[in-house]
Amino acid sequence: MAEVGADIGRVRIRLPATISQGEVIRIRALVTHPMEILSFDKDQKPLPKNYQFVYQIVVTYNGKEILQAETTQAVSQNPFVAFPLKVTEPGKLVITFTDTHGKTYEGSAEIAF
């Protein structure tokens, strides 16, 4: 399993090497995050505590929200998501991951032709 520690919260975004106007591109994004899994007591009951995992991903393009995701603990460590975007104009893509401890991790990329 990949190590997560000091690197936690690092967002990486990958765009295609060449982008032409009007094209539907595929964007890949990843955040380094443990996505803490449940711990169980001896009766196999989940220990009640505020587990730390990313529960929301919001993607905006030039300030407009284009995609949103609700994630759970059943999403893997270092959550990865790939999604399309139809690029009609150049602009700034911002992806924000929010976890249950109130921390937000943001990554951005400039899309140009």
């Binding site: 539907v24 995701a69 609700e70 759970t72 059943a74 139809k86």
Partner: protein, 173 residues
């Protein structure tokens, strides 16, 4: 010691949030201690374990009695037949459905029947993305059917299902 640190973080976060409110409304809001406590309590709830759920109950909770049509090739679900590691199972949902402002894929749900809480993730799309294809990595606790449910903006639902054999469980939430 740890507790003290956590409290410090909470207070700082709430302060930031309060500044946000002040900034966006332009009104000076005085948040009493009660307000702080309330915000902190709500945030503390987010990561609390939710009760076990059967997949029928998950589907009922998400879609009520609405009928779900078989995808008939309109929606494709790509997942491995055998997942050696249940902690990281790549899945792709590809919907061959329109993405126009009038008629578009609103949501994509990924559901694993035999997980403790079957809903893995929900994606909400807008016509701007141009195409309804989503990939992610999910955790599977054991061998299970994985379903993708696609919801159109007019409420139509399509489902596709695939069995995934899991060799080592991923202790999904």
């Amino acid at each position: 010691m740890k507790c003290t640190l956590d409290m410090a973080k909470l207070t700082r976060r709430n302060l930031l949030r309060a500044w946000g409110i002040i900034g966006s409304t332009g009104v000076i809001v005085s948040l009493g201690l009660g307000g702080f406590m309330q915000v902190a309590a709500q945030q503390a709830q987010l990561g609390m374990p939710k009760p076990d759920e059967k997949v029928e109950d998950t589907i009922n909770r998400l879609f009520g009695n609405r009928s779900i049509a078989p995808a008939d090739g309109k929606v494709k679900l790509e997942a491995p037949l055998i997942a050696e590691n249940g902690a990281v199972v790549p899945v792709t949902v590809e919907a061959d459905l329109p993405m126009t402002p009038q008629n578009y894929v609103k949501s994509i749900y990924i559901i694993a029947d035999n997980n403790r809480r079957p809903l893995n993730a929900k994606f909400s799309l807008t016509p701007e993305v141009g195409q309804a294809t989503i990939s992610t990595n999910i955790r599977l606790a054991q061998t299970t059917d994985v379903r993708a449910v696609v919801e159109m903006n007019d409420g139509a639902l399509y489902m596709v299902k695939q069995a995934v054999k899991v060799t080592v469980g991923g202790c999904g939430g």
